[in-house]
């Protein structure tokens, strides 16, 4: 998305108000001005939605190249009007965070450590676990309460949990994968 002149004016006035409030303590004007300039001149703004609670605050995500440099509330959002709570205001640290793992990890049975593994290897191994477990335990037919044999195509040895933190499209894909594989232990946070 691109910023219109109207948006630009809105951001400028927000910054001015912030500076005025700050004058009684420390004058943050030069810092704020520099940050705002960087955001407006060098960063691209993307439409975001806060990933925390279900109010769904609209966000503006400013990225410069492959780095997010700021996330703030989007004032156009009718139900939130640009406001964010402490969690929403901390969203940037979900991305820019040294504690965040960026490699796939494997822990062997009984081991006391993680091992870094290529994604390719991980995918292959995980698919193999799904396949073997499904092949070993799949229930194709069983008797109903009256003793008639019915097709049930069910897999009861793999469970899937999550997530209320992923997108609608991802939820749908997971429903589709689990249900077409026969998985019935299929749940997420809404239950608890």
């Amino acid at each position: 998305m691109s910023l219109s002149r109207r948006d630009f004016l809105k951001f400028s006035s927000t910054t001015a108000a912030g500076v005025a409030a700050g004058t009684t303590t420390i004058d943050l004007a030069p810092v704020e001005a520099a940050a705002t300039t960087l955001k407006l001149t060098e960063a691209k703004a993307f439409a975001g939605v806060c990933p925390y609670c279900a109010v769904g605050c609209g966000q503006l995500i400013y990225a410069k190249g492959d780095k997010i440099i700021d996330i703030e509330g989007n004032p156009d959002t009718p139900h939130t009007l640009g406001r964010l709570c402490p969690k929403g205001a901390a969203t940037i640290q979900l991305s820019n965070n040294p504690l965040r793992p960026t490699k796939a990890l494997y822990r062997a049975a009984g081991s006391d450590r993680w091992e870094e593994k290529p994604l390719e290897w991980m995918h292959e191994q995980i698919a193999k676990r799904y396949y073997d477990t499904r092949e070993k335990h799949f229930i194709e037919k069983e008797k109903d309460k009256d003793g008639n044999v019915v097709t049930v195509n069910r897999l009861e040895t793999i469970a899937s949990l999550g997530s209320a933190c992923i997108d609608n499209e991802e939820c749908y894909l997971l429903s589709k994968l689990n249900r077409t594989l026969g998985i019935v232990y299929h749940e997420h946070q809404a239950r608890v």
């Binding site: 969203t91 209320a164 992923i166």
Partner: protein, 824 residues
């Protein structure tokens, strides 16, 4: 929720039963806006919180007594004649007559007719309407018939007196009366009130009945479907609504369609016969189900093979596979492999000790998450011999929302699109990439299978866009929306949809396989513009203005961009707003009809009608707003597994006997028996566990802490895990503010700091003092090393594996504990 956060500003009285100011702070601005306009705020909560600080009245109640609270209000509204009579008579089932054999707990000492103690379930054959010769429910519009729902309701709640409320909830009579008078002032044409709830009502062994009791009060006062009214369900995760709609839930398929059961649903025909009601909008269910099967199985789903119905798994029983079943069954060794996708049950679910012990028994565990959670490192659980945990663990780092395209559905059913701002770093994958890659690999492994059972999976498409491993999310959204599988024409042969075109409205879905739809309620979210480009309405970003205060140009609210559900109820029988002040939609007899040749007349106004826009108020069913219900009216009488009216039972663990009946706890609640003392329960009035405990959340942390404990900006805001303890209890136990204390239950114990506070005060229950403590549950053994307060014991080690009989949610809002000074 039935309404919209923005519309709370139109409420005259808001009853917050959740801690909205702290848990949904940005949504709370609309409560404050209403207050600026003169509205009153009531806060009902055992604890004094920031919501109470903003309220005109704080009404503390003992956790686990919500039905007595709402029952007391229902009784008050009826006895004081404060209900909205025209609304109740015409828009609800209050006037319907019930089978004379049906009896309530008033007559049966806490039970409804049909209880089978051996099966611990009800035979519901008397829980039904009396019908006339044509099968229509009999009604008494005077509401005087003793078998009318209204008179049964009056009799049932006759026991929920002011004295009873005082004795059970611990709310002094005068205070309750003052509050009841204030909230019931929202009855009638000129005023409306809204009620918020969150996990405060759901996490109980009568969670569903708690919510029903709230809804019944709102129906009684005429507060559903009207501006400033509604049931404000405040959900906790960014996409808990969407994940529910798309059904990451054991009991349903996307769009609230029942997941087939082996015995009642052997084939598609039987499934549709049993699941499709005779009235209401759900009569369209075959269209939704068949379109879903087409979305799953594509061209392989045909009329001749029941659209692939037999490929779907059939559940062995309705009492199986839920969240709590998962960990009980996993501990029993039944489950071998487990996929935890963006969820941390080692901390976040009930009886977390059981969950961890269960996961340590798995053959393999796959975790996809942004951070290395306690679930991913369950083999490092403090006190565990790592080498004894034979579980293989695969961890895939996941991307947060800012690093991917997609949509999230918020608590008001609003689907909002977010854009990818940057690529994820390193080997980080989006959940969609992981799922599609796994699906493709498995499909390769099954490519040569000749088995019938594998045909459905092999046929399912997991490729969206040009790059199989980088699925295009808008293409997935289009599949959720639904497209034409062939050219669709109207009766005159005019082309309505070309093959592949997205469908505009769920009313146009087909039960003949001519459309797909991955989730019918989302239909309309993607449409095609006249020039053939795809329009993603979730990405619409028009701000609200004076002409459209509900902001219809921002995102897309399911269903059909309707912002306030059941809004036909905002108008009277004749289609006129109940009052000018509370107008929302109304019948305009002069507006043009659906087609030029039709009689004029249309529902118009400030929202998209949640109703047939051209159905005149005087036409058949033109005066019945509750279109999703079979009988088209709001239900005071509505059979759940534990009864057609909410009845109070004590929590499974309680400090007191049930003062309303002999029936101590919910007779049909689910209590799991788990070996090795993994789910021990305290007896009623236990001396070892004498205090009530409730668990809750904080503004600065998020749920099981995965998205807050690793973020320095948030992790530093609370310096330690803590328990809130009243001055009175602290004095009894010799505890000072800041002391370490041990909180224990029959399942486990935790060590936390004592926060001695006036925010909690003891209750007088049946003349005796009952203490209640509060403990947040965001902590686990991981966090930011430099911030020791970001780590702490797991509160859910205290809670039990017990569940509501309708949905199996646990009881983490009300159980019992002991508190001791020091680390013991």
């Amino acid at each position: 929720m039935t309404t919209n956060l923005i519309d709370i500003q139109n409420s005259d009285v808001i009853m917050a039963t959740s801690n909205m100011a702290e848990n949904h702070p940005v949504g709370f601005q609309w409560v404050m806006k209403a207050k600026e306009r003169g509205a009153k705020l009531i806060h009902v909560d055992p604890r004094y919180t920031r919501t109470s600080a903003a309220a005109d009245m704080h009404v503390p109640l003992r956790s686990g007594t919500n039905i007595v609270f709402f029952g007391g209000l229902i009784r008050y509204a009826i006895e004081k004649n404060l209900y909205f009579k025209d609304y109740v008579v015409h828009y609800t089932n209050a006037s319907f007559l019930i089978d004379p054999e049906f009896k309530t707990p008033t007559d049966l000492d806490g039970l409804f007719t049909g209880f089978d103690p051996a099966k611990k379930s009800y035979d519901r054959s008397t829980w039904k309407y009396q019908v006339d010769g044509e099968g229509n429910p009999k009604r008494d519009l005077t509401l005087r018939d003793p078998n009318s729902v209204f008179q049964l309701l009056r009799r049932h709640y006759g026991r929920y007196t002011l004295e009873m409320v005082e004795k059970v909830c611990g709310i002094p009579r005068a205070k309750f009366e003052e509050m009841a008078q204030l909230y019931c002032s929202t009855s009638g044409p000129e005023k409306t009130g809204s009620i918020t709830y969150a996990l405060n009502l759901t996490q109980h062994t009568n969670g569903v009945e708690n919510i029903r009791s709230l809804c019944m009060l709102q129906l009684l006062l005429g507060n559903i479907g009207r501006p400033g009214g509604g049931v404000v369900a405040l959900r906790g995760h960014a996409n808990v609504q969407g994940a529910t709609d798309l059904e990451l839930l054991y009991h349903e398929l996307p769009g609230y369609l029942a997941m087939p059961l082996r015995d009642p649903h052997p084939d598609l025909k039987t499934y549709l016969e049993k699941e499709t009601p005779k009235g209401g909008f759900w009569t369209n269910k075959p269209k939704f189900m068949i379109s879903l099967l087409k979305a799953f199985y594509g061209d392989a789903a045909t009329k001749d093979n029941e659209f692939g119905y037999q490929w779907l798994p059939k559940r062995a029983s309705a009492d199986a596979y839920s969240h709590q079943h998962i960990f009980a069954d996993m501990y029993a060794g039944k489950i071998k492999g487990f996929f935890a996708d963006g969820q941390n049950p080692a901390v976040g679910g009930p009886n977390a000790k059981l969950a961890r012990a269960a996961m340590q028994r798995l053959d393999w565990l796959v975790v996809v998450d942004i951070f290395l959670t306690e679930t991913a490192e369950v083999w490092k659980t403090p006190g565990t011999e790592t080498k004894d945990v034979k579980t293989e663990v695969f961890f895939i780092p996941a991307a947060p929302a800012a690093e991917k395209d997609g949509s999230l559905t918020n608590t008001m059913r609003l689907i909002q699109w977010h854009e990818k701002a940057v690529d994820p770093p390193g080997d980080v994958q989006t959940d969609a990439q992981f799922i599609c890659t796994l699906a493709h690999r498995l499909q390769k492994m099954y490519a040569n299978s000749k088995k019938e059972r594998d045909k459905g999976f092999r046929a399912a498409n997991f490729t969206y866009g040009a790059k199989p491993d980088h699925p295009e999310m808008v293409e997935v959204l289009k599949e959720i929306n639904g497209v034409a599988t062939e050219e669709i024409t109207d009766k005159e042969g005019k082309v309505l949809y070309k093959k592949g075109q997205p469908i505009n409205s769920f009313a146009q879905l087909s039960d003949e396989g001519k459309t797909t739809s991955g989730c019918w309620i989302y239909t309309g979210v993607t449409v095609e513009s006249p020039d053939g480009t795809l329009v993603n309405k979730a990405a619409s970003r028009k701000p609200a203005d004076d002409k459209d205060y509900l902001g219809h140009g921002w995102g897309f609210a399911w269903p059909a961009n309707r912002r306030i559900l059941y809004n036909r109820a905002s108008a009277d029988l004749a289609g006129k707003p109940w009052s000018e002040k509370k107008k929302l939609i109304w019948w305009d007899p002069k507006a043009p009809g659906a087609k030029p040749e039709d009689k004029p007349g249309k529902w118009v106004g400030l929202d998209v009608p949640d109703f047939n826009a051209f159905l005149a108020p005087d036409a058949k069913n033109g005066d019945k707003p509750f279109i999703m219900r079979t009988d088209l009216v709001g239900g005071f009488f509505g059979p759940l597994n534990d009864g057609p009216f909410p009845e109070h039972y004590e929590p499974i663990e309680s400090p007191t006997r049930n003062l309303l009946s002999k029936q101590q706890s919910n007779p049909v609640a689910k209590i799991w028996k788990v070996p090795d003392q993994k789910n021990e329960l305290a007896p009623v009035g236990s001396k070892d566990y004498p205090y009530v405990i409730t668990t809750y959340r904080l503004t600065e942390h998020h749920l099981s802490g995965v998205m807050s404990r690793y973020l320095p900006m948030l992790a530093e805001l609370h310096y330690a895990h803590f328990a809130e303890i009243s001055h009175e209890l602290a004095k009894e136990l010799g505890i000072a503010n800041g002391d370490m204390v041990t909180v224990s239950s029959p399942r486990g114990k935790i060590h936390v700091k004592a926060m001695v506070t006036s925010r909690l005060t003891p209750f007088k229950i049946d003349g005796k003092t009952v203490h209640q403590i509060g403990v947040p549950w965001h902590w686990g053994w991981k966090g930011v090393d430099q911030l020791p307060g970001s780590k702490g014991d797991i509160t859910n080690d205290l809670s039990a594996t017990v569940g509501d009989p309708n949905v199996y949610i646990q009881e983490t809002k009300a159980f019992v504990c002991n508190v001791k000074k020091g680390v013991v």
